[in-house]
Amino acid sequence: MKRITILSGKGGTGKTTLSSNLAILLSKNKKIIVADCDSDAPNLGLALGIQEKDFPSWKKVQTNEKAVFDKEKCNSCKKCLEVCNFGAIKWDNKKNKPVFNNFLCEGCGSCMLICPNKAINLIKVNNGKISFVKTKYNFSLVSGQLKIGSTGSGKVVGLIKEKAEKLAKKEKAEIILVDSAAGVGCPVIASIQGSDFIVAVTEPTPSALHDLKRALRTVEHFRIPYGIIINKYDLNKKFSKKIEKFMEKYNIPLLGKIPYNKKFVRALVNLTPIVVYDKEFEPLFKKIIEKINKEIKK
């Protein structure tokens, strides 16, 4: 089984659009499982016409802990305040007691360990939910959602991938396709870990190229082979050439170039991937799949 992850660095370059279209075409010939690992802002379901309520059952997950404080036991020594490296503890001078900021607490337990009066404990918190659904296309989609205001998106991503692995084993899938979050931070690192191949999507803008390079350095950190797709390449053909030159220089395979077309937005608004919305686009994405297959076999 192969694990393919879609990545971009910069947001809005077309990860989800690409994932939804590749998923539909891949699933015509192969058994696949698709995982939406953008647990901050999961959109792949929507792009496929699936809403949150269409998932049969959301399972709450607890990957994080938070400090809770018993003011009766506290002797106001301020040791917790000194030890917190995340700025999650402030001092209330009036009451002479600590105040805990749940949004910033990482649940590391340092304050609990240092408190001489055992006035601080850690409790598990619901910080997300995951679910999966059989789509009307020929594959299952696993999705997750970080609870608003919670930390630990990387760990939620880890659970989404675990679920995808289990389903893949059960359904004897040949491919797990992962759509990752924007950026290069913890949810992205969690998404690409263990991948066999990375498809990086970019667009011909200086910002996107800058972010792409950062994303690729992250991929290289994990020594995973990758290729690049230039989306909306015709918005600035000169810059697209610049990206292609950069790729040639470093021997990075070009997996495809996708033109800008307002039909992509229309398809999105209609919650239908463009290969279904307008068959005219099928050959373009089929070619991309051929290229990916070739690279994976190397």
Binding site: G149, G185, D211
Partner: protein
Amino acid sequence: MKIAITGGKGGTGKSTVATALAVELSKKNKVLLLDADVDCPNDHIILNIKRKKIKEVYQPIPKFDFNKCKKCGRCAEVCREHAIVFIKDKYPILIPEQCIGCSACMIACPNNAIDKDKKKIGTIYSGNRKNLNLLSAETEIGVEEESPVVNALKDHIKNKEEYDFILIDTSPGTHCNVISALQGCELAFCVTEPTPLGAHDLKLTLDLLKKLKVPAKIILNRADIGNKNLIKELAKEYKIEIIAEIPYSKKILKLYSKGKPIENENIKKTAEKINKFKKK
């Protein structure tokens, strides 16, 4: 006044709007733009600013003193990030990528065998374009714990009172580094697009801002392609004003793809509205 530019979905135009507003506002005000998209900071590229490195950001990591270590395994037991591997009768091993710098192992070690070392997690840069000041931060590749970099960036602002406006451009999404960027802001502009995906992520951002008690306003970008009602309904539901609608324009795209800030009537009008928020 501290104003965040955020929005949930990536690529809706946060940086485009943040840089354009910063340029426009700085014509009459003292403005600081803070690029808190520490994953992928782009504001300096759009503004064509050569940034100067001004500070490195570090987090603590443990350093074992094997002369003192009694191989008890307590450090690995308290580490909630599983950054310390302990096998019985062996010395503990640190996986530095997993360490978030909490110091729990140092506190828990009964033999005082763990010293504080440090790991570089980011860099803070500064630059300016006419009278607009930019502070920007970038994480090191492979760093998971990004909030400390955002916090260091925010702490780095000197003479806060000097500025009429501090604009904070955040990462996409709703995770920890976005939360760190939003905390303490007096207002947040949520930049979105009229697609189901834009609406979905905008809703998440509005929920987050509600929790953080930061008042929000919506800036609808590429307002004329897609379905505007998706955003209008959401604005109505949350009782939030759509402060500006920026139509799709090839000119904006061209400027953006060349790495230039946009200047147009919509941005000017929005800047005028923001000027009225200014504290007297």
